[in-house]
Symmetry: D2
Subunit: 388 residues, 4 copies
């Protein structure tokens, strides 16, 4: 891949899809990746028109993902794609991913990684076997503010961690809009497409992932309450949990999709023996540091005083806000540099390797399993982390 | 009491006490109450010097609360106090309160109302027997922003309530400062003075009270986790709970005193079918209204569009911030008008009666009992509200 | 005055007046002052009913301020008032103030101090002659956040001051509500009652005063633009100015009463060679410190790290918000302690003397004169400070 | 250009330049433009290494901009670039731009458009002659929040505009870092490279542009004060002005680069007869609407209730923050669609044409001229807009 950009193919992400366009922008922005092919929809006509609107030649626009993986694998190395991005409903992650890996393609996949924990474990096995790279787009942990938070905790900036609070509030599922059809809510609230978790899988996984990412600890036990608040909804639309972590501290997680009027309100707080931290996704360029005996500080992304870890994932100087797409782009850029390094026989740096992997994906599915087990069974208060 | 101010006596509140000075300011501010006597400390010298610094004559400054209640009761009606304010550690609420009621004095008492639920129930009985008035200073529900919240919910402004989130974060007990002595933390972390609850009694009760106050619902079941995070502390310093209310919705309560760097961070959110609300104590003059299909609103205290309930408890026009002492003063003013109305044989208006009573006090102690029962016993997940 | 509260009389402040009630609360809150008499309205009936509602005996409720000053002066020292608070329209400040001083009473008066600069200079002379104390209620400089700002600047906390920005935005005069009558806008927009300045006198003086107070500098030259934006209004409702100060830095002042939707939005910023500061009246308990090479800090009122100057003017610990009335109360308390010290033949401490005086009042009227001269005369850009 | 992306060449933007990388990301993000060539530095070695790091073939990496324009013009149409982006110091905008136009290339250029007003007028003439498209990257008016503001004002959402306040505060030039060399401050503070204006050209133009953009009015007269606050600086580092607009309202503009601790603080407010608006660049996804008799609203980018104009320039749903680079990308995308439409002989839509043009560039230089004329000459207060 020396002297050229990485070549990306897409499964999903037609012109009728929101998240596909985000992935594309994130991938292209850094001038490290180009889009070369795709199967953009299960509807071949939409796939074709989408591909054309992305300025692809017709022969690189495919009708099925199987066709795409087959044909791309047969192209000469100087032409074929280097990796595939999978942005389909959860149910349709596993098969394309495992097939792509089998054919030698690296993979980027949206979270939750698979439909079930079983699939996740199988995919993990495949990644290990092939030695290829899989990135999972837990976008929120890719914000520079979160990088700073992780690094400062690691460096002991707030002392021993004692308490983690994370919340993720949305209001878009206040009503059962999935019944109207034609929107993102349909598959998310269909257990046959989304899996066992509703809210807990869709956004709860993000919230949980943030806590493990910034603290470096792992959840070991939960006491949870999952609710189906909108009448008749077959999956949870609200979830909360007390969490115990292996490093000895505890957490409180709250995720809801029926908080009327909330947009995408993530708030993460970590308190240690000597300081506290707070970050909010909707104003992601500020990290609040709170202290025992002196004024709280507003650590602002883009300033010279930031740690290297945050700087590596920042593009603009302080006061020039970065947002959601730049966070996404951090994953793609780090993934691309890792793939490139490995292709060149080099060891990727820790900065390059800083993106969620198949192992995070497995833990994400375990999280959903654990929450579902703990959240409906009133008999037992504390439930151990489900591993398989 | 016609044509004159109400006469207040104080138990506690010497010049070395923080909360006593707040009570005094709150009581005096509205020109409805005057301070006429007090036993300001268990140390008679401090009581005397304090009383003098409050410009009281020596014969109205008492060495013990028993002496005070005795002597005041013997004074002619045109001189003696009308009510007593009790601002001592929890352990020393019950006896003075019940004695004052016995002698015909109305009572204002800080929360939690008593040391134990048993005392609370006994005090409730006494109030009912005497027909006198007892006000409990749950100050946070006296903010005009909270009044507005309650009224709007009552009027259906956000539809059927579905979810309540309340948090109360402080950091002042991050270290075991109670071991140093000479501060407010000493009795609060001594179960013999504070009762069964640490954090849960000190601030958890405020958080819980807010949820019941604004929704008009009552908690019926909790799943809780109480922690003693600072090593060796004999009472909880962190508490969280899932709560089920009798009106069919659920709540999440979080209270902590080891959130390093937090001051007095109360945040209350209520989500209904058509809207959401958020209020934060540290910037109490804004109430955020969130809507499904239109922009969130910043409802600001002091504006003409506020409900009468908020206006009754507001002094200044929009943009002239009211604070903690004004909230306190709302309780004293409403209490004073109630006492005055009853003395005149009139029915107090609902606005006058809008202050926490002995019944709230009983529920507060029940809350502590319930939380303690649920928070340490890992076997059972959901614990029913403890009534006695 | 030893062993007793100071006795306050009021001119103005009937039950139909907003600002009178604020003065009363501020005066009473600290238990240093009691209300003993007043002439609360030019309407004797309103004066009487107001006084009764304040629980005053009928013989201390007066029909005219002349009568009040006469009769109070004839009362024995153990009864008569110690000072008078004047809360009438600007036009009616001077005569009562100068008469009160002549009869030996100290004075508290609202700003602007007088109707004209001539009156202000005369009043200044009278205060100097009598040696009595006059406090001017520039309430905004009495907030603890502003005290902290002043002290930190004085201590060199932000280096040499280079630039001051102050703004004061209100929207309540967007329409000519003065034409409807029955409100505060009537006299404020009548040059015969308010004086030469409209907005510039009513709120511009507050904004200007803040800049001089926190920096210790004095304005020496202005370039201004005064506008009468609401059609037909006879006084300015919007004013802005470039200001040059004697300490070598410059300022920008902006005041407006036609900023639709603004409540009482004061924002003061000072930038020095090594740091910057920002304070906003509507959230007055935070002072933002901005630094060249490190994160901005949120200095919060009530914390142990505050300077003594702020602490002296603070009642509650961090996170228990203080507001407008507490700021007002700081002036009354400091004034009362000064009067008391002087009566006892003692030297008031600098903390006690920290309230605006007759000299600030004179400068306030000079400010209005200077702005009016500079703001309408397009020929000259820079106008020197008008001294008489 | 049908069926393919637009081809971009760059002048400037080597790997040592900040703003070049921003332009590149903004151009690439939407998958409408590809980078095909460039002369990235006046240092040919840096140009070469930069171009290679952007994965360009060596024969499309040029040593001088003259060579680039020559050679590209000689390439067959199916290969040569469609437009050139010029991201060099002000002094080096005009010649490349006019030459590119002469050779038939469209142009994107950073602001201020040229070194002098004379150049600007000449460039305007050239654009008109050639019929080609020139976009000026006044990035701040490309934020969706600003689009919403403009549209709402146009639709009468706040009634007749009365007052505009704009401020742009930075602190990075607090010290004379230009003396250290090796940074962006060097040419910006060198009148031979930057032109007559320092702060007024660098950021004052942005602030002024925002006011004209959102109101659709034109400045006609200013009263200004320009200062050189850091000792010895040869250009202004602080500028403020009263501005009169042709639509009858007035504005206040404040720009400073010595506000220690400020990052990139733009705040724009517009007040009309019935409402007010406020937008802040550092949290660009909220537009505050303020009302006379009802609560202020937080209009949030990405919601269904936004106007089409904002939606066209938004990528993500509410709560997924967009930032500086997305605003930049709006200009590139709109420019690209305009160029494409014109190439296809179609009329670009108003949405496509919504980017700053050569006419805005001319007015920008006129603004600098007017401010410099008004800001130093103390004799005259009001200075008419300089047209040539």
């Amino acid at each position: 891949m020396k002297g050229r950009k990485l070549r990306m193919g897409m499964i999903g992400g037609g012109s009728d899809a929101f998240i596909g366009a985000i992935h594309r922008r994130a991938a292209l922005m850094e001038n490290e990746i180009e889009l070369v092919c795709g199967c953009f929809s299960i509807n071949p006509e939409i796939s074709l028109s989408s591909g054309r609107s992305y300025y692809l030649p017709d022969d690189r626009i495919y009708s099925t993902w199987e066709e795409m993986l087959d044909k791309e694998a047969q192209l000469p190395e100087c032409e074929r794609m280097d990796f595939v991005t999978i942005v389909t409903p959860n149910k349709f992650h596993y098969l394309p991913a495992v097939t792509a890996l089998d054919k030698g393609f690296n993979v980027v996949v949206d979270k939750p990684m698979t439909f079930s924990l079983e699939e996740a474990l199988s995919l993990q096995k495949k990644v290990r076997e092939t030695g290829l790279t899989l990135a999972l787009t837990h976008v929120y942990s890719a914000y520079p503010g979160i990088k700073e938070m992780k690094k400062r905790i690691e460096l002991g900036g707030i002392g021993k961690v004692r308490r983690v609070f994370v919340e993720y509030s949305q209001g878009w599922l206040t009503e059962r809009i999935e019944l109207k059809g034609g929107n993102n809510a349909v598959w998310r609230n269909d257990p046959r497409q989304a899996g066992k978790g509703g809210c807990v899988g869709d956004i709860g996984t993000h919230a949980w992932h943030l806590t493990e990412y910034v603290t470096g600890a792992r959840a070991v036990e939960v006491c949870a309450d999952l609710q189906r608040i909108a009448t008749g909804r077959p999956v949870d639309d609200d979830a909360c949990a007390f969490i115990r972590y292996d490093k000895g501290f505890t957490g409180l997680l709250q995720a809801t999709q029926i908080a009327t009027g909330e947009e995408n309100n993530i708030r993460l707080r970590v308190y240690g023996e000597t300081g506290g931290m707070e970050w909010r996704q909707m104003e992601p360029n500020t990290l609040y540091m709170k202290w025992k005996d002196r004024p709280a500080e507003e650590v602002r992304v883009g300033n010279a005083y930031m740690t290297d870890s945050a700087k590596w994932n920042t593009r603009t100087p302080g006061g020039h806000p970065e947002g959601f797409i730049e966070a996404f782009a951090n994953i793609y850029r780090n993934f691309a540099l890792t793939v490139r390094a490995k292709a060149a026989g080099e060891e990727p740096t820790p900065e390059m390797l800083d993106f969620p992997t198949v192992d995070d994906g497995v833990r994400g599915l375990q999280f959903v399993e654990t929450m579902v087990k703990a959240g409906y069974d009133d008999g037992t208060k504390w439930v151990e982390w489900v591993t398989e």
